[in-house]
């Protein structure tokens, strides 16, 4: 699905580029190329929530800028394929437990200091030391010694007790060998570990970071990526410019990138229409209605899919939802195709698999509960003993979820003949508070975007007991065992096979129901002649040509 989508947009773009190229060839083509080399673009952004420290950035506003400012050990190709080495020269392991990581020589941070193995080890130790309060701290849980540096609050953050001070300041599993080499020992074999290394939590930090307060650093971040940071005016503009000493593959083809921070996507959309803004990643819903964007933008519009899935999760701690037959009945009663066509005008695809099919290792079509089969659904409901009372589907109403959640509830009501409706919770914060606190009294909306491209990321956090986003408290010892086995497999292929087996078990239990795969509609100005989107649909600024 992705290949064809990407291919169409690529063709449209190259056609535009060809037109321009032929137009230029009669006049001085050289001058134009030089203009492109020193050219600048203005792209859409959202005010980052926190100072820009990679291991403390979890939202997309800041995450995007962090992705541009840093280059990690591995990178994820734009076509969604398997990760490849970026800053790493080699990542070697014999048993998927001890990894020897060699980094390329002579690459620099934006302040001119060299990127050494120490910069990784120190950065990871800082993030894994829980009193530093890094939001991404749990990403280091694979590494040996994590339980010593990262302690959690015994009675939760609301309770009177405080987390005990960690007994160690550094992860015992990290060891600097020489300036370019370090060794990572995991607490258990994890085949997917090298894949994770491209996620922003694993970025190196320059020595300067450790001499100042993290929030001071985060206001003027120093990375090692293709662009460096110039200035940040809150809610207005973040200015980035090409880092001339950058020596890795993805060098910038233009010079300046201004990230204009918008509060309203419609304003940004109008700016794109007027060529006042060069790139907008997500077009506003108002532009999608009736395919308005296609007529507005023509070949300046891009249509892609992103590795994100919208789900409805069941609160497994509520007795009424503990029968897998009932859960399957609800899932089979939903006509995903109709929701995709009528509510999203085809911009989102009906979900038919547990992991998003764009993810390496995911198997398309493996969700047997994702079909539309009202007859079986009714039969299963009878077998499950029916459903008494009201089934309320919850969503946060500060984002546009009302329409499709209403449709889901209506379909369940019609097809199962039970009393179902959808109810909005005013804000995402209140919604998540109830979800985190396990206080939901009905199925609720959820969404998952992969952190790193591997099917493991669609199983462990969501369906394994105690997973970081397993908010519905689903627990199946068979799934746990299979996932553990798959995670510890010696190769990625074997690991993917293992996770496929775990997913088969999940499929029988239906702890949540995938509804649709996200699509992404973006727009760019006439100025941009070539661009690519990365594996999660963000602009790859190094691909931009004018």
């Amino acid at each position: 699905m992705r290949v064809s989508k990407r291919a169409t947009s690529a063709i449209a773009l190259s056609a535009a580029a060809a037109l321009v190229a032929s137009g230029c060839s009669s006049g001085g083509g050289d001058g134009d190329a030089a203009g492109s080399k020193d050219g600048s673009i203005v792209i859409h952004g959202v005010q980052p929530e926190n100072p820009l420290v990679p291991s403390n950035t979890t939202e997309t506003g800041g995450g995007k800028v962090v992705d541009w400012l840093w280059t990690g050990l591995v990178e994820y190709p734009n076509d969604g394929g398997a990760p490849r080495n970026a800053l790493a020269e080699s990542i070697d392991t014999k048993d998927s437990k001890v990894f020897t990581i060699k980094i390329k020589k002579g690459t620099k941070f934006h302040d001119g200091t060299e990127v050494k193995s120490k910069n990784f080890v120190d950065a990871w130790n800082w993030a894994a030391y829980s009193p530093n309060g890094a939001q991404n701290g749990s990403f280091f849980a694979d590494i040996a010694g994590f339980d010593k540096t990262y302690t959690s609050d015994p009675d939760g953050p609301d309770g009177p007790q405080k987390a005990p001070a960690p007994s160690a300041k550094e992860l015992s599993g990290l060891k600097v060998i020489d300036e370019q080499t370090f060794e990572v020992t995991l607490s258990a074999p994890t085949a997917v570990f090298p894949t994770k290394l491209g996620y922003s939590a694993f970025m190196p930090l320059p020595d300067a970071f450790f001499t100042m307060k993290p929030e001071e650093f985060g206001k003027k971040p120093i990375g090692n990526g293709p662009v460096k940071f110039l200035s940040w005016e809150d809610n207005v503009l973040i200015k980035l410019t090409r880092f001339d000493d950058y020596s890795l593959r993805d060098k910038m083809k233009i010079k300046d990138v201004d990230v204009k921070l918008y509060q309203d996507e419609t304003a940004a959309y109008n700016d794109v229409l007027a060529n006042n803004l060069d790139f907008l990643e997500t077009l506003p819903t108002s532009a999608l209605a009736g395919d308005k964007w296609k007529t507005d933008l023509g070949d300046r519009g891009l249509n892609t899919t992103t590795p994100s899935t919208a789900l409805i999760a069941f609160p497994m701690y509520d007795k009424r939802f503990q029968n897998p037959k009932l859960r399957r009945a609800v899932s089979l009663a939903i006509n995903r195709q109709e929701i995709s066509d009528k509510i999203f005008f085809g911009t989102r695809k009906p979900a038919d698999s547990w992991a998003n099919p764009l993810t390496p290792g995911a198997k398309p079509g493996n969700c047997t509960a994702c079909k539309f089969d009202p007859t079986t659904a009714k039969q299963l409901l009878t077998e499950a003993g029916g459903f008494s009372g009201e089934m309320v589907f919850y969503y946060n109403s500060d984002s546009s979820h009302k329409e499709w959640m209403d449709a889901v509830a209506q379909q369940v009501k019609t097809n199962l003949a039970i009393n179902a409706r959808a109810e909005g919770v005013p804000t995402f914060a209140v919604f998540r508070q109830n979800v985190n606190g396990h206080k939901m009294t009905g199925p609720y909306r959820a969404a998952w975007q992969q952190d790193y491209p591997d099917v493991e990321n669609w199983v462990n956090p969501l369906y394994v007991t105690g997973g970081s986003s397993n908010d519905g408290l689903y627990s199946n010892t068979e799934v746990d065992a299979l996932a553990k086995q798959a995670g510890a497999a010696p190769t990625l292929e074997a690991s993917h096979e293992g996770f496929a087996k775990a997913i088969e078990k999940v499929d029988q239990d239906v702890p949540s129901i995938p509804i649709y795969f996200y699509g992404q509609q973006s727009g760019h100005s006439e100025k941009i002649k070539k661009l690519e989107l990365n594996n999660v649909g963000e602009l790859d600024i190094t691909s931009v040509e004018l």
Binding site: G133, A134, S152, D234, N235, A429, R432
Partner: protein
């Protein structure tokens, strides 16, 4: 006059404390844990929540929080947002923008509203009067966001006369359209109040006297009539500045202006009492000072009014 001023200034103190406490308590009472939605679909690490709770005294009750906030405020410390940004910086960067926008709106209001009011007040029931009546009715009926989106789309996207959003330099020429949008409803009110006031005073004794003693019409209208008819208009304009600044959120959003509206909205949603109160404190001061100025202006406009 001096005693009056002093009395009015002293009255500001309880009003100030009352409003700030009310706002602080209201934001505090907004449901939702500020850190519940901060880490997306994952719950935030306990350590992060504990770290932030302690840093912002969120485990204390609202009175203790408010007291410690006021103590810092009186020392000139507005505190920090949950993203560890200085609130005083936010106030310093966003206030001038909103103030500029509101002043442009106020100027447009005064010029168009007063102009239309005087013309229609002098020639009642003529064609112009009816035209203004209908068009002001139209402006009052249209919500700000409709006017805003319409003008942005028409002038910015279709005709390309203006840029759809305001650049970070906030040039005066860029602010004319947003200013008109923000002030559009008030233009209508000003025009109508001015019209009524002029029409009423037109028949007053002093106007008849002025005409009878042979003054040129320009002087009768410009000095005698207008000055005395300005009192309700000035009241409206003066209190409107505060309303324009506080109500600019929609206009700011449409035209991408980094003003106080979006800051307050963001802060309310994320339960950042300190930011909301910090911004509103200044807004309350604007209201109070404008009210005082309007009251003092009465005396300048109408010699019959004196303050003791």
């Amino acid at each position: 006059m001096g005693r009056y001023l002093l009395r009015r200034l002293l009255q500001l103190v309880p009003v100030f404390i009352g409003t700030t406490f009310l706002i602080y308590a209201l934001v505090w009472a907004v449901p939702g844990d500020p850190f519940a939605g901060k880490c997306g679909e994952r719950r935030c690490p306990d350590q992060y929540i504990a770290f932030m709770t302690e840093k912002y005294h969120l485990d204390q009750n609202v009175f203790v929080q408010y007291a410690s906030y006021m103590k810092n405020l009186l020392q000139g410390d507005f505190g920090q947002t949950f993203s560890q940004r200085e609130i005083s910086d936010i106030i310093l960067t966003s206030y001038p923008n909103t103030l500029k926008l509101a002043l442009v709106a106020l100027a447009i209001e005064a010029v168009i509203g007063l102009g239309a009011g005087v013309l229609t007040g002098l020639r009642r029931n003529g064609f112009l009067d009816n035209l203004v009546l209908v068009s002001t009715l139209f402006l009052i009926a249209l919500p700000v966001f409709v006017v805003g989106f319409l003008l942005q789309w028409l002038l910015g996207v279709q005709w390309g006369i203006i840029k759809p959003t305001v650049s970070s330099e906030m040039r005066l020429s860029e602010l004319i359209v947003p200013g008109f949008v923000l002030g559009s409803a008030s233009v209508a009110y000003i025009a109508r109040v001015a019209r009524t006031s002029i029409a009423e005073n037109r028949r007053a004794d002093y106007v008849r006297t002025a005409i009878a003693k042979g003054l040129p019409m320009r002087r009768v209208v410009g000095v005698h009539l207008l000055r005395n008819s300005l009192i309700p208009v000035v009241t409206l304009l003066g209190t409107d500045l505060g309303a324009l600044m506080g109500g600019a959120i929609v206009t700011e959003g449409i035209f991408g202006i980094n003003g106080i509206g979006r800051q307050v909205f963001r802060a309310i949603v994320t339960k950042e009492s300190a930011t909301v109160v910090g911004i509103v404190v200044v807004l309350v001061l604007v209201y109070l000072v404008m009210n005082l100025l309007v009251d003092l202006l009465y005396a300048a406009l109408d010699p019959r009014i004196r303050y003791e």
